[in-house]
């Protein structure tokens, strides 16, 4: 299967297979104005199987969101058809207004004006917890 290479945009590569759609959703890529290709479950020398997202026309995405979903992903910035930068990704300490707390007893679920903040509580397992109630975030 072939997808045309992009002229200006971002390629998020080496995503663990199965994480592509979740990242698509969290990055807000369903915006009808955006041109996006998702390739899921493609063969990879490094991972066996991987997902890839190509976004045409924009070069800034929230790297923290990518770091939350898969800190081992690679992000390539393409300009005029050429790779101009590889961004390094790591799991962010804090995620603001990306996820919503699912705990119905959490203060952030009743007080809508509160920012939704998740904090990295365990770097080894990449576990994030709600700042307010410590409920674990779902990947």
């Amino acid at each position: 299967m072939n997808v045309d290479s992009i002229q200006n945009g971002i390629v998020i590569d080496h995503l663990k297979a199965g994480y592509g759609m979740r990242l698509y959703e969290l990055l807000g890529l369903s915006d009808p104005e955006l041109t996006v290709a998702i390739m899921k479950n493609v063969t990879s020398h490094k991972l066996g199987r991987k997902d890839i997202i190509k976004i045409d026309g924009i070069t800034d995405v929230d790297l923290d969101v990518i770091g939350f979903v898969d800190p081992d992903a690679t992000v390539n910035i393409i300009r005029d058809g050429r790779l101009i930068e590889k961004k390094s990704i790591e799991a962010p300490e804090r995620l603001t207004n990306v996820l919503r707390c699912k705990n119905p007893r959490c203060i952030s679920t009743t007080e809508q004006e509160l920012p939704q903040i998740f904090v990295l509580s365990d770097r080894k397992t990449k576990t994030y917890r709600c700042l307010y109630c410590e409920t674990r975030a779902e990947k």
Binding site: R105, C133, E134
Partner: protein, 315 residues
């Protein structure tokens, strides 16, 4: 502004200072009876809890201070839809320190972020209740004389029992303790609490059978299976009588076991045990008041509201 939301906001050194202050208050109450003169504590209780509120209010009165009180969500601005943040900002204009209980988890944190005065978390839903843990710690200290090398049994509702989670977190910071977690399958400690033990290689065992372990324990911390923490009545009725401590069971326990309970109890400790010298739960109530006094003093002093504290007598 220094607030106390989680027992882990206090270092072990600070805990030991609070315990020293509490013991000095117990020994010399007259020295403290005017310390908070003209200072005001606001008790904001958006969830019913008579005993915790009374304990805070008694603590402030015994320090010579005054109390402003909101005792139910229905009669307060929260009923009109005011946010916790706005309530905290408003009450900061009236009071020198706030003790807050709220049914939502994280509410006290939000209050502390917005208040201009220290906030003490007096319970945020099923999440944290640090001053109960202060009561528990003073009780363990006074009964055992140490925080190390203890076998601590926790029994009953270990899933929703926030006092259990805080006590485990607090006692994990001391050397040589071992935890025995006694509960039905449905009410086991949540994984994040168990992780505290696992990460630090602290020995613990989980069991459903109180009798198989009661003889090993130095401390038995009983908890109530709380109706308000359940989503449905059926589960509550099925599980509430799971673990009841009776004099017969106490025969198998060590002679110096300390039986603790955050209270109120329903029927999980039979009344006959109240006369047993090993029953410490009413002492715990009193210890809670002394630790709240010590904490109020500490926070008001750190906020600059109190310029000096009485010098502690040498023990």
């Amino acid at each position: 502004m220094r607030s106390v939301i989680d027992i882990l906001d206090l270092s072990t050194e600070e805990l030991s200072e609070l315990i020293k202050t509490a013991e000095d208050i117990i020994a010399n109450p007259e020295k403290y009876q005017e310390v908070c003169r003209h200072k005001k504590l606001a008790t904001l209780f958006f969830e019913p809890s008579t005993r915790t509120r009374l304990s805070f209010e008694a603590a402030m009165y015994e320090l010579g201070g005054n109390v402003l009180s909101v005792s139910s969500a229905g009669s307060s601005s929260a009923a009109k839809g005011e946010s916790v943040a706005d309530t905290a900002k408003t009450v900061s204009c009236y009071a020198d320190i706030i003790a807050m209980r709220h049914p939502k988890e994280g509410a006290a944190y939000v209050a502390a972020q917005n208040a201009g005065v220290p906030v003490i978390n007096a319970g945020d839903g099923g999440h944290l209740h640090p001053t109960q843990t202060l009561a528990d710690l003073l009780t363990i200290w006074r009964e055992k004389g140490r925080f190390t090398g203890l076998t601590i049994g926790l029994c009953g509702d270990l899933k929703f029992g926030r006092t259990v989670h805080s006590l485990i977190a607090a006692m994990s910071r001391y050397e040589g303790n071992r935890f025995v977690l006694i509960s039905p399958e449905e009410l086991k400690v949540p994984s994040y609490v168990k992780n505290i033990l696992k990460e630090q290689n602290i020995p613990y065992e989980q069991t459903e059978d109180l009798m198989s372990v009661i003889g090993d324990l130095d401390i038995l911390y009983m908890t109530r299976v709380q109706r308000e923490r359940f989503f449905n009545e059926e589960d509550y009725l099925r599980l509430k009588d799971s673990y009841i401590l009776t004099p017969e069971k106490m025969n198998e326990a060590k002679a110096d076991l300390a039986v603790m309970h955050p209270l109120p109890r329903v029927n999980e400790i039979s009344v006959a045990i109240d006369k047993d010298p090993r029953a410490c739960y009413f002492k715990q109530v009193l210890n809670g008041k002394y630790m709240r006094m010590a904490l109020i003093l500490k926070l008001l002093y750190e906020a600059g509201t109190l310029k000096e504290l009485p010098e502690r007598s040498r023990a």
